[in-house]
Every structure is written in C-alpha cells, then in structure tokens.
Amino acid sequence: MIKHLIIADIPEAADIIYYQLQDGFYVKTLSGIGILPFLTEYCNIPENYISDKIKTIFHNGNPVDDIKTVKLYKGSVVAVSGAMPGIVGAMMRIGSPYAPMRESITEKGNEKGSEGEEIYVKLKLFNSILKDHGERFTVEGVIFDKDIIHSIISKCETAGKKFMLTLDNEIITSSETEKLDDEKYLISYTC
C-alpha cells in the first residue's frame, strides 16, 4: 500500500506539483494493457479528447503511431502532448506523413511480457494536455518517486512559508521526509 503524504497550508504546492507532472508521475494499471485503454480507463481521459487533442504520444521515448496496438509493461513511460510546431514536431505526431524521417526511433510495438500483473506506468503530461488535465491529477493526488517528493518539499521550503505535512494522517516535519524509505509515495495538497 502506497503511503499518502499531504502538504497543507501552502498554496504554492499546487503549482509545484502541477509542473512536476511534466517530468512524470505514476499511474497504477495492469501489464499488457494498450495505450488507449490505459489513458481512458486508468487516467480517465475521454476517448474523444484523445482523438481530438492528443496528437503526439511517446512510449519509452519512441513516437507512437498506433495507440491501439502498443502495450505497456513494467517500466513503461508514456508521454502525451498536443499538436506540436516545427518540422520535428510534425514528424513526431501520431501517424505523421513525415514518420519516415524518424523511422529509426518509431515505436514498433514489438515488446512482449507477462500480462495482467499490477504495475506502475510513468505518465508525463505536456503543454495543452497538462493544462487540461494536470489540475485534476494534482487534486486527486499523484504518485512520485521519493526523490521527486524530496524535490517538491524542497521547493515548498524555498517558497519561504510555513506549511504542514502529514504522512498517512500523522504529522511529520520536512526533515523527516528525507528519511522516507519507500520507493514511491502518493502526494496531494490541501489549503
């Protein structure tokens, strides 16, 4: 069970967590799931939004052309973006007519692995997708690696205001977060 860290009384925490979503956070899912059902069922992003707004998807750094066939396994990283400018931005789009120009890194969907196991997929939200869905994730709470948790706490301290931290309903100090020993934590904020 992932422990829940709550930051309270510091409004800046909302933005700090929000912009951290560019670097990625974890969403629990099942191995072998396709990108499309992962986004709709586990990230609660409507299918029509995906087809209308999400124009670029990367899986493990590789641009994806077919979001129905590429499957996710342990260690998968998915990044989602709106339409991008520039020739390279155009190349990276889903099904781009310029796909041959980045063919050597295109996601082929050849990866195989065990299916149906509980895994954490790292999700990165960029630009308009971050704007449209970032706040919802931060309100619901997001899962980060502990080093990112340290970074968030450090940024809150830099903001120069007093704030309160609770870990699974127990009050802790900022310095105690340095001793966190789990790999991942759920973090949310409240004002």
Binding site: P63, A83, G86, V88, A90, P97, R102, F126
Partner: protein
Amino acid sequence: MDKILRIDMGAAGGPKMKMDDLGQYAGLGGRALTSAMIAAEVEPTANPLGAENKLVIAPGLLSGTVAAMSGRISVGCKSPLTGGIKEANSGGQAAQVLARLGYAAIVLEGLAPEGKLYKILINKDGVKIEPADEYKMLPNYDLIDKIKGVYGDKVTCMSIGPAGEMKLSASSIAITDMEFRPTRHAGRGGVGAVMGAKGVKVIIMDDAGVKNREPKDPEKFREANKKWVEGLRSHAVTGQALPAYGTNVLVNIINESGGFPTNNFKSGRFEGASAISGETFADIETKRGGNPTHGCHRGCVIQCSGTYVDKNGKFVSKQPEYETTWAHGANCGIDDPDTIAMLDFLDDNYGLDTIDMGAAIGVAMEAGIIPFGDKEGAINLIKEVGKGTYLGKIIGSGAATAAKVFGVERAPVVKGQAMPAYDPRAIQGIGVTYATSTMGADHTAGYCIATNILKCGGFVDPLKTEGQIELSRNLQIATAAIDSTGMCLFIAFAILDQPETFQALVDMLNAFYGLSLDADGVAELGKKVLSAERDFNKKAGFTAAHDRLPRYFYTEKLPPHDKVFEVSDKELDSLFNW
C-alpha cells in the same frame, strides 16, 4: 514594391545611391529575390567581406499588405560563416515598413572605407545616407535608445551591434519589433558581418504617410485573407500551442524523443528539460507580470512570442525561442530560465546568432574553458564577445571556428554553420536536411508543408520506411517557396492539416498580383530558388563532400536510443535530383 534601392558604399566621394526598376527580378520577393540577385550579381568565389559581395534585403511578396503573418524579411549575401549563399530570415517590423515604402529590395554594394560608419534613412520623401560615427560599437539596445531620442519610436530599424562591426562570422542583423526593441534577428550565417563590411550601422525606416499596398483584386484578396486568418486561428498549433507557449513548447517532446542535444551533442536527453520548457517559461512570465503571448510584428495572428521579465517585473528579453533555449540551455547544461533569458538579451544586444553562440559555448565547455552548467561563465563568454577580446572574437566567430581554435573535434556544424536543436542521430530525417541544405545546418530549410498538397516530388507513401530523402527534398522546395512570400514559416502547421488554408494563401497571392498560380507553380518557384542557390554553392567550390554531417555523428552512439546517423552518402547525393 516596384523599385530596388542600390547603394554603393565604396563609391569615390562617399556612398552613392541609385534607384532601379525590377527588371529581371519582377515577380520575385523574399528569399526568391535575395537568392536570385546574389546568384546573378555576386562572384561565387568572392571574399564574403570584400567589395564584390552584396547584401540584399527584401520583404516578401505579400509584405506591406493587410495579409496576416506577412511580416518576414529576407537578408541575402555570400555568407562569411559558410562560404556559400545565405538567406537569413526574420520577423519584426521591417518587412511591412519597407514594402509599404515601395521597395522590393535594398542592395548594399562595394566596401566602405575602413573605419567609416553610416546610417541610412528611408521615408516617403526618399533616402538619405549620413555618417554615423557617434554610433560606433554601440550595442543594439543602446543604439535604439539613441535613435529613439532623435527619430522617435514610430520608426523601424535594422542594425548591427559590435559583433557586426567587428565582422564576426556569427553576427546578426537586428530588427525592431512593435515596441521598438531590437529583439528580432536575421541571425544565421554572419549577415551582420557583411553589413559591417559595408559600413552600415543602421537603416532607419519611417512609413509615416504611406498606406498598405493595394491588391489588384481587393474583394478576392479580402475574402482569401479572411479564410486565411480563420484557418490559422482554428488550428491546434497556430491557434493554441504557439500562442500559449511559443516555440519553446518543443522542449519537452524533443527531449522525450531523445533528440534534444545536451552538453555539446553528447546525449539526447537533458535532465533539466522541464525547468526550461515552454510550459515553465509561460508560467514564470505570467506570474512575474510578463507576457507569454505576443506578436513580433503588426499583422501577426499567431502571437508565438512573449516578454520575459525579472523577479521585479523588469524587462529582460523577449521570450527566448526554442532554439535559443536549447542552445544556451541543454547544449550548455544550463537549466535556469533567468540565465537563458539574459544570454538571449546579450546575443540580441551585441548582435549575435543565438544558435551558433550556444553551440560555440558548448564547444568551449567541452574544451574545458568553462565547465558545462556554468551559468556565470556562459554569460561572461558572451560579454567577452561584446568587449571584442581575443577570446570573445573566437566565440563570436561561431562553433566551427571555436572548435578549431580550442582543438575540439566534436563541432556540431555543417558547411561551417551550427546545427539547431535536433540531434540527427535520433531524428535521421532532420540530418538529411542539415547535410544537404544550401544554407548549412538549418532547421527551417525543411519545414512542413503537406507534400501531397504541393505535389512537389511526387506522392510519398507515409507507411514506407524509406522516403526521408524524398520528404526532405519536398520540404526544402516548399520552404524556399514560402520564404519568398514573406509569410512566417509557422503558417506551415495550418497548411499541413488544412488544404483550404493553403488554398487561401495561393488565392491571396493570385488576388494581389492578378496571377493564376496553382500548387505546381508554388513548387516550381521553390525549385527555382534552390537550383539557383545550389548552383552558386557549386561555383563557390562546394562538392558532395560538403553535404555530410561531421564524422562523429556516424560513429558515436547517442544515448538514450544509442543510434548513429545511418543515411548513406549515395542517398544524400540523390537529394537534388529533379
């Protein structure tokens, strides 16, 4: 736009001007005009900083009209950086003002006597050329302040900073924006050095009392422009992504693709990418009272620029572009937006190409002059350029020169010009364009126009794994054509996805000039431009060996994908077969 102003800066008794009609150049604008003139009038083996070279400044075919996005200006010459033909392209106010004043081009010829500096004043009443010794070695912002005191802030300027006066081969020509700041630059290829060699510090243009250019068929033109603007505003890139985040919105996805050159092209991922992303810059600008959505010239509806301010809300620079953020950021291991904005300001102030400066500093970091990530060190290196120290002159001469002087093999250049912000080992198709472009490594040489709309080079099956040669060829042809219209290249995104928006552009050209141009005609224009440029370079001594990436791109694997550049020489050599 029915006249060409020619000024012989080396004439006996001082600069002499004459007004030509368009003659053989009728119907050309922007890059088509600058490249045609350089190809026809400049000896290809000429010294770029000598009397035989010419500096041609030309607004686009639709500049000076009410057509949205028509404010790009082309600056052409033989490049002191590449040794080949050059067209450097910029926004700002100059294209609109020069076109409204009726000039298809300004051509600076000859060579000013050593130590002489001039200003050129152009308004509705004519042209004056006056000594400008009081402006010697002034940085661009200081120069513009002085000009404001004399001519007000309603004029438009094209100027050089100390780098151009020192004839450094990475120097730019600054162009003022709507706020009369020298933030827009014809940056690439050392065009500022050529202007410096001509002894011209600044061209001051005043369009008071002149009107917009009138189309031959005003009604059709108005209708086409309306559809044009609707198309730009409704598209996700031109209507949303660019206005919200600027071109820097690319940082996150290029980093994710593993093609974001980091620490002088050693890796394709930068750990600090999100700290310098377009999303982060826009957030900082908004919170500090800057502005993340701003146009660089009147008539811009995309508004991809912005205003970057410090913690006290004081202006630092315009919102750094993606290429600048990469060059001074990831390529130098710097993840601090304030430092990047300051470097952007210093480049603009001294008159330097931000891409070649970031690449040169990356090379200096690799050489151990300063360590990667050294923010203050990077700022000091650019200041050295402004001071004109020996070290500064090496940096200001670009990455290729810096690498030779510092003994660094890994110089990310083609034809002497630094590569922009995409590593060709991860994104092989961009490497084809870098290698074969007539301009040296240039990301805008192969911009995105729907190849199947333009029908240039035939239909390319997007599902074929081969095809990047054909795609790069088509993109280069299309880009050359768009560069001739004076349209901002960012229109390409709407054209890519919306054939009716492309048609609106063609309709505007036809309504304005009374033509019946079709898509094939646009492609032919692009081919003609490229052929003239290619022919010039060949005569200047360029061979197939110049159409190659540096050797280490073929041998050093780039993490995280661990790829090398794999496109064969034979394929590269086939690009210009048409």
